[in-house]
């Protein structure tokens, strides 16, 4: 046992002899709780030319974790397109920034960040998911932005009543709601899928968006001339929570470890965050007024060490941190715990010393942080230095003293790549005995049914800037500024049933569907974000899935040349590996993609709900025979799995351009993307609307008319991408002319009207029956 302050310092500063055989080093790593391999331990000695101190070894373990270093994915990610005229800040900072547009002569940017909190959410769902939201909001805030929206893609095991998967699902949603609602950030998009591969390893991804004036963007680095700047820590008092969190995120979960790992999950405090956000907005105003150059960075992985070393090194500087100046929640913490714990709700400023008193006054006096949360505050904890060393001092001596680049320079891990998987057995012809019954079963499938029972937990309207809340359309929409018409759309996608069939094509579909979703409200897709959720990269099969997934993303993003010949850029992203259960089965490959769209006139947006009797319904995008990965195949429990519908990029681009133009022109009154459940589920949802109360039905012509070459099963339930749109009768000729000009595949499907959903020659279903099948399935889970 270690007792007494000086002993803690000596313990942290003691050199760790990294010598001996692999087994010796493995034993040492275990006893010191260092998530490093023997070869990585040797690499530390090689880089330093000496043994590291204990604190230094922990710093390396965090910086070289998958979570911080992207060591397994970095090389692959370089294939993604990342630039366009709309990218104001690209990959590499806390968040990316896309151009929103100009309002009254001021240019605005849309800040985008994307994170996962998969492992913590599996262990303690409420706290894990809540902290995921909290972390991502800070990434956006740190760019000098107002945080304005969030979106949550969720993946859980099958929602069997009383199962652990159901507990994880309900707890995660409660956690997201508790955090987002309290800080006042509306939840505007998201999706949820249930798949057996997520039973032991859920996915909780979070996207957050911010709005910032372009000339007020703050970067995640010490600015030029920043020598001698103060490093000011803001937020919650540091405790031991989340120590080793980054390393934890990079380990596979097993049941026994899960309990022990609970200490690596941080404790969220949305109440404090709410106040920190508002105080930071006041700081941003003052910085703009005084035209100061500053740096601002979130504390995430590696806590103070991770953030202070990265903000300094990114500016070409070093830093000295004084552990004794860090406000702590409890006494007796080791210096390396204080410098590396992942206590939530903290951020780091790099500011000129002349500004420090004003900065401290805003947080500590005007916004009274110390009264809001015990020992919370803003405090100077270090200095930016000219020499490129990273030093952490405690009790008068250095416990870390390294060339800063050695710590922050990326490492790379290379893994074996399994050969490409064999295509799955193709699904043969599927007979539809009772198409109406099948529609009701598809509508009540957990991946198709209404998300309202879940969405209702989220505040979707706080801020008073929401134009379309979650659940009413394929994308959520908010205005950049009240009093102006410029608006932003956000959607997230990624189908695990597709992932299980083809990692590459699933990733490509995620990009294309996300883009279609923002287009379905009338927005022009301008940028993408991704979170790559895969298994253990040390497993060649899982590594192949990751590599294929990135390839699929890159292919699709480059091919969507709607706004620019270079395709759509990824502006930020995240990689989450080691997603698999203790039994070793990896999750369905899950590239989850967010798409950001821009709308010049918010007054033009449409939802999926049919609003006018006698509108003509069109299907955009050719129907196809493939049923792989479809909800129909799942309902029928087909053992054959493939193939997925292929993607026709030329058709996709043409239909997206058409729908944006026709919504802008006011000819399209409702639009919905064809995805899970196929065309028939799409039309049913258009009849029901976001609340399931819609009373305008639809009469579709026989599929023989609009998909003459296909079996009814593929025509009605096939999930080849596309849209169904409603067009008013008088606008139909113009719409059809426009479709021909864009070269878009558009066929008359039927008409809106009547009080039922019918397909001529096949069946008629009452809207009430459809509503019951669609609205009820998730009510118990999220009650």
């Amino acid at each position: 046992m270690i007792a007494g302050g000086m002993d803690l310092v000596a313990h942290a500063a003691a050199p760790l002899p990294l010598e001996g055989s692999d087994d010796d080093l493995k034993r040492l790593a275990t006893s010191e709780a260092l998530a490093l391999t023997p070869s990585e331990l040797r690499a530390i000695v090689q880089r330093l030319g000496r043994n590291p101190t204990r604190a230094e070894a922990h710093a390396f373990a965090i910086q070289w974790s998958e979570h911080c270093s992207y060591k397994s994915s970095r090389a692959l990610l370089s294939a993604l397109p990342t630039t366009s005229d709309d990218v104001l800040v690209g990959v590499g900072e806390d968040a990316g920034i896309l151009r929103a547009g100009i309002i009254d002569g001021v240019e605005y940017g849309i800040v985008v960040a994307h994170e996962s909190h998969n492992h913590p959410s599996q262990v303690v769902p409420f706290e894990g998911a809540a902290t995921g939201v909290g972390g991502i909001l800070r990434d956006v805030l740190c760019m000098g932005a107002k945080v304005v929206a969030s979106a949550d893609p969720l993946r859980f095991g099958p929602p069997v009543t009383g199962s652990h998967a159901a507990y994880v699902a309900a707890g995660s949603v409660d956690g997201i709601a508790a955090y987002g609602n309290a800080v006042g950030v509306p939840n505007l998009a998201g999706d949820v899928y249930f798949h057996p591969s997520f039973r032991d390893n859920c996915l909780v991804n979070v996207v957050a968006l911010g709005i910032v004036q372009r000339d007020r963007i703050i970067h995640s680095r010490v600015p030029p001339g920043g020598e001698g700047y103060d490093l000011v820590l803001v937020g919650k008092a540091t405790d031991a929570s989340g120590f080793g969190g980054a390393a934890f995120a990079s380990l596979a979960l097993d049941a026994a470890q899960a309990q022990a790992n609970k200490s690596a999950v941080q404790v969220p405090d949305p109440f404090l965050k709410n106040v920190i956000m508002r105080a930071s907005y006041a700081v941003f105003d003052l910085i703009a007024q005084r035209r100061l150059e500053v740096g601002f960075k979130d504390l995430g992985a590696g806590g103070i060490m991770g953030s202070s070393s990265e903000i300094s090194s990114a500016g070409g500087f070093g830093a000295v941190i004084d552990v004794d100046a860090v406000p702590v929640a409890v006494e007796g913490l080791s210096p390396f715990v204080i410098s590396m714990a992942e206590t939530q709700e903290r951020m780091l400023w790099a500011v000129p010393p002349s500004f420090t008193p004003d900065l401290l006054a805003i947080y500590n006096e005007r916004f009274t942080l110390p009264e809001v949360s015990s020992r919370a505050s803003a405090a100077v904890i270090g200095k930016v230095t000219r020499d490129a060393r990273y030093v952490v001092r405690a009790g008068g001596r250095a416990v870390i003293d390294l060339p800063i680049d050695v710590l922050t320079k990326p490492v790379r891990a290379t893994w074996q790549l399994a050969p490409s998987p064999k295509p799955p057995r193709p699904i043969g012809a599927v007979e539809l005995n009772d198409p109406k019954q099948m529609l009701l079963r598809v509508l009540s499938h957990p991946d198709v049914c209404s998300r309202r029972p879940l969405i209702e937990h989220y505040d979707t309207v706080v801020r008073g800037a929401t134009a379309i809340p979650s659940g009413y359309a394929d994308a959520g929409v908010f205005v950049v500024k009240r009093g102006a018409t410029l608006a932003v759309a956000i959607s997230v996608d990624g189908n695990p049933r597709y992932g299980a069939v083809s990692a590459k094509l699933a990733a490509a579909h995620a990009v294309v569907e996300a883009a279609r979703n923002v287009a379905a409200v009338g927005a022009m897709p301008i940028g993408l974000t991704d979170c790559l959720n895969y298994g253990n990269p040390e497993d060649p099969v899982a590594y192949r899935e990751l590599a294929d997934g990135v390839e699929g993303l890159a292919e699709a993003a480059r091919a969507l040349t709607i706004i620019s010949a270079s395709g759509l850029p990824f502006v930020t992203g995240n990689v989450s590996l080691y997603n698999h259960s203790a039994t070793g089965s990896a999750i369905a490959p899950s590239a989850i993609v967010g798409c950001i769209g821009r709308i010049d006139d918010v007054g033009r947006v449409v939802t999926m709900q049919l609003l006018e009797q006698d509108n003509i319904l069109y299907v955009l995008g050719a129907r196809r025979p493939e049923l792989g990965g479809s909800v129909l195949a799942d309902v029928l429990q087909l053992t054959a799995a493939g193939p997925l519908p292929p993607i026709d990029y030329a058709e996709t681009n043409a239909t997206i351009k058409l729908i944006i133009e026709e919504i802008r022109a006011g000819r399209v009154t409702a639009a919905h993307d064809i995805s899970d459940g196929g065309l028939l589920a799409c039309v049913a949802e258009m009849c029901l609307g976001g609340e399931g109360k819609g009373r305008i039905g639809a009469t579709l012509q026989s599929p023989k008319v609009w998909a003459p070459d296909l079996a009814p099963s593929a025509a009605l339930f096939g999930e080849a991408g596309g849209f169904v749109v409603a067009v008013s009768q008088p606008s139909a000729p113009d719409f059809e002319r426009s479709a021909a000009q864009f070269g878009a595949h558009a066929l008359r499907l039927g008409t809106a009207g009547s009080a039922s959903l019918q397909v001529e020659g096949l069946f008629e279903a009452g809207l009430d029956e459809c509503a019951r099948a669609w609205m009820q399935p998730l009510q118990e889970l999220f009650a």
Binding site: V275, V462, V602
Partner: protein
């Protein structure tokens, strides 16, 4: 003529002050956010007070309980007794109830859901407009879209008390369909006996512009998306009563 001065109180945990200030300003009022750290006595110079939504003091103990004990709310209560206007929106309504400005009315956890519910709801003016300064300029029976977003919004009290509220026209607003939060008499907004204080659970300020409602109210599509929506009427009534 100078605009009426309105203080929008901000506590630690408040999250709706911006849109509330904007909604007041768009109705021609000079509204300002006032932080909890500012001297409470300064509040006396304002003609009206709005307590906006959020989770003041983390809703510790129960929603609104801690804020109700704050010095700034003491000032608001005293000024209300002198006839100044107080509008409590959502969490603000909880503060207003907690501080006793409505008498023996409590606001409790939603039933039967037991959890936070966010939805767009139709709210109907259900007492004579003149009963309350925040409805005075409305047509009788007006139905407004508002955003319900709360987990504790169920107005409750003794049956006798609610019968009296009905007689006195103090249930200013009612959910048009059954109250999703289980409120007695489907109450959504209750005013005090003088009609200068209104506790309103759903948010008019979050759907106060046409663009907020195009998805839920198709006729809004024909109007300028930037202009105040019909839900903004409460703020216009307030401004008219202050003029």
């Amino acid at each position: 003529m100078s605009q009426p001065r309105v203080a929008v109180l901000v506590f630690p945990g408040t999250n709706s002050e911006e849109e509330t200030v904007d909604a007041c300003r768009d109705a021609g009022m000079d509204a300002r956010p006032i932080l909890w750290s500012e001297p409470p006595a300064d509040l006396r110079s304002y003609q009206a007070y709005v307590i906006p939504g959020g989770f003041a003091y983390e809703d510790r103990v129960r929603a609104g309980a801690i804020a109700a004990k704050s010095k700034s709310v003491d000032v608001v209560r005293e000024e209300a007794a002198r006839g100044k206007f107080v509008l409590g929106l959502c969490n603000g309504a909880q503060v207003v109830a907690e501080v006793g400005l409505l008498g023996d009315i409590a606001i409790a956890r939603n039933l039967p859901s037991g959890h936070f519910q966010c939805r767009i709801v139709d709210i109907q003016l259900s007492s004579p407009p003149k009963c309350c300064v925040f409805t005075a300029a409305m047509a009788p029976g007006t139905v407004l879209k508002m955003a319900m977003a709360h987990g504790e919004g169920r107005f409750t009290g003794t049956p006798a008390l609610f019968d009296r509220l009905e007689r006195e026209g103090r249930i200013a607003f009612r959910f048009k369909d059954r109250a999703p939060n289980g409120a007695m008499h489907d109450a959504a907004g209750i005013t005090n006996d003088r009609g200068n204080v209104l506790a309103l659970m759903p948010h008019p300020e979050r759907v106060a512009w046409n663009f907020n409602l195009t998805f839920a109210r198709p006729p809004s599509r024909r109007e300028d998306p930037r202009s105040p929506s019909h839900s903004h009427e409460i703020f216009r009534s307030m401004a008219a009563s202050l003029a």
